[in-house]
Symmetry: C2
Amino acid sequence: MSTVLVRFSEARTRTPEETLRKIERPPTITDVAALAGVSAGTASKALNGRGALRPETRQRVHQAAEQLGFTGNAAARALGTGRTYTVGMITTDSIGRFSIPLMMGAEDALGAGRVSVFLCDARDDPIREQYYLRTLLSRNVDGLIVTGRRTQARPPIATSLPVPVVYAFISSDDPADCSVVPDEADGAERAIRHLLSLGRRRIAHVTGPEHHHSARVRAGTTEDTLAGEGLALVVPTMFGEWSEAWGRQAAGILLSTATGFDAVFCGSDQIARGVAETLRAAGRHIPQDVALVGFDNWDVMVDGCQPPLTSIDMDLEGIGRTAAEMLLDAINGSPVPGRHRRPCRLVPRTSTAVG
Amino acid sequence: MSTVLVRFSEARTRTPEETLRKIERPPTITDVAALAGVSAGTASKALNGRGALRPETRQRVHQAAEQLGFTGNAAARALGTGRTYTVGMITTDSIGRFSIPLMMGAEDALGAGRVSVFLCDARDDPIREQYYLRTLLSRNVDGLIVTGRRTQARPPIATSLPVPVVYAFISSDDPADCSVVPDEADGAERAIRHLLSLGRRRIAHVTGPEHHHSARVRAGTTEDTLAGEGLALVVPTMFGEWSEAWGRQAAGILLSTATGFDAVFCGSDQIARGVAETLRAAGRHIPQDVALVGFDNWDVMVDGCQPPLTSIDMDLEGIGRTAAEMLLDAINGSPVPGRHRRPCRLVPRTSTAVG
DNA sequence: ATGAAAGCGCTAACAT
DNA sequence: ATGTTAGCGCTTTCAT
C-alpha cells in the first residue's frame, strides 16, 4: 500500500535530487504547485492571472515558480488551448537584402508580443513553399507572414487557410488578402519633387528591366510627375538591369547624347552608384553639374558612393513591423484586409546638396 | 442511450460535414483511424512505421491519411515524445550580411532533416539573449545554434543547458563547446600565396581595426606567411576601419609613400574596393601595376569593383550547414565537441588576372 | 496483428 | 478561494 503511494507521489512531483538535476527534467506546473502547497489548477490560475485567488496565494505560487525556474511547457499549453504563440514567416525568394529588414521588423514586433517566429526559406520554389506551408500548419502556427523580393502581386499562397496571412513587401493578387507594401509611386514622386525643388529641369531616369514591376511603376510615376509640371524626361526612361555596370553604361550613353541633363533619378542605389562613377570620371561634378538620387537607401551603397547618395527609403523594417502588427490583430480577431501602401521617405545626402 | 452513443462518436471522430470544413478543425489521427477502420494506436504505428502490422492495413491507413490531408499535431506529438523537431537559432548580433548565409545554410540542413527553425535576433543585447534562451527552452527546442558577426570567442550562452548547442561563425570560449568557424588564417595565407604565385613581392596589407579579432588574425598570418618566404610587408599592416572610405584613404597614404608596391591584400572587400578606386584614379592599373585581393567574397562588392575583385570566401553557408549537421548529430546522441575550423577558398577574378 | 488504456503538462469547467 | 477532473492529440506499453 505505502509503496503504491510513494510511486504515485513520484509520478506527480519529484524528489529533491531530481529537482536539482533540472537538466534532466524541467520543472512542471505540478512541481510549482507542490512547492507552493496548492493544486496544479490553482497554480495555473495564479501564473496566468485568472480566477479568484488570495493575493498571498498568488504571491506564493509566483515565488515557487521563480525558485524552480519554471517556464511552462509550450507544447502542453498549445495542446490545451489551441494557441501556440507562434507564427510562420515564409520568404518566397531567398533570404536577401530586402528580406532581412522585413524579417527583422516582423520579428521585432512579434517578439514584443511574446510570439516566436518559424523561419522558412522557400527559395522561389513552389514545391518548397507548399512543403513549408504544410509543416507550419501542422505546427499549428497562429498565423503566417509571407515575404519576398519582388513587389509584384503574386497568387495567394493558399486558399482558405485555417489561420490569417499577411503579405509583407510582396502582395497577394487577391485584393481581399492583407498585404503591406511600399508605395513605390510615392517614392518616385518624392525623388522627382526633390530634384525639381533644387531647380533641376533636365532630368534623366535610369532603372531596371522593363518587365520588372518596380521599374515600371517608378518610371511611370516619374514621367507622370514631370508631366504634371509640364515637363518631360530629357530622354525616355532607360531600362536595363539592377546593376552598377548598367549604371556606368547608361551614364556613358547619357554623356554621349547631345542632350544636356542636370539630374539623374535612378531606380536603385546600385545603378546610381554606377552612374556616379562614370560621371565623375568624365569630369562632371555631383551635385553641382548633375544631381543624383537613388532608390533603396542601402547603407553600403549610399555611403560608398562618391559623393554620398541621396536616396529613397522604403522603410522595409517598418513594413515588416506593420505586417506583424496586422497579423497579431488578425489573430486576435480584428483583421484589416486589403492592400496597405506605406509611404517612402527621401534621405538627402551630398549628391543633391544645394550649392 | 442511443443519443449518448452518437454524442460519444461525435467527440471521437466527426461528421462528414465537419470533415469538409477542415478549416475549422484539422483532421486528427482518430479521424484517420476511423476512416481506415482501425484504432488510433494502430494508425499511429502505421504512420510511423512501427509495430507489426499487416501491409494491407498500413496501406489503408496511409491512404486514409492522404485522403484527409492528415499532417498530425506537432504539439501533441511533442508532448508525448519530448521531441519537438525544432531548433532555435539565435543571432547575437543583428541579422546582417554575415548572418544571412549562415542562417540559410543552417536552415537548409535542418529543413532537410524535417526540423523547423525558430529565429531570434538578440541585437547584441544580453538581456534579449537570455529572454530568447528561456523562450526557446520553454518551447522545448531540441537544440540551439548560436551565430553572430564577430569571429572572436564569446562566453557560452549558458552553462549546463538541457539541449545541445552549436556555435556557428562565432565560437564559445569554452573549448569543450562545439563551434564551427572559418579558418581566417588559412584565408589570409591563401591570399598571400596567390599574390606570391603571381610574382608579387612588394605587398601591402590594409585592414580593419586592430582591436578586431579578424583583423589581427588575418594580419598576423599575412606577416608570418611572408616571413616564411623571407619577405615582409612594404609597410606595416595598416589598421583602420571596415569601410570603403578607409580603403581610399589608405591607398592615398600608400601612393604618397616613397615605397613602391605591386600588390595589396585587404581585410575586406569594402576596403579593397576603396583601394581600387583611389589607385585607378591615380592612374595605377589593376592588376598590371598592382594586384588586389579582398576578403569576404561579397557579391555586390566584388562585382561592383573595377576591375572585378579576387577575394577570399569563408563559405559561410557551408559553415551554417555544417553547424546544423553537427547539431543534428548532437541531438541524436553523437556530439562532436570542440572548435572546428573550416578552410577558406580563393576566388580569382580580374584584379589578380595574369597578363 | 490489432485494440485498449494510460499518460505527456497544461488549462478550464465544475465542485466544494 | 481552492481542489478535482476531464480532456487536448498523440505515442506507447500491455492485453488480447
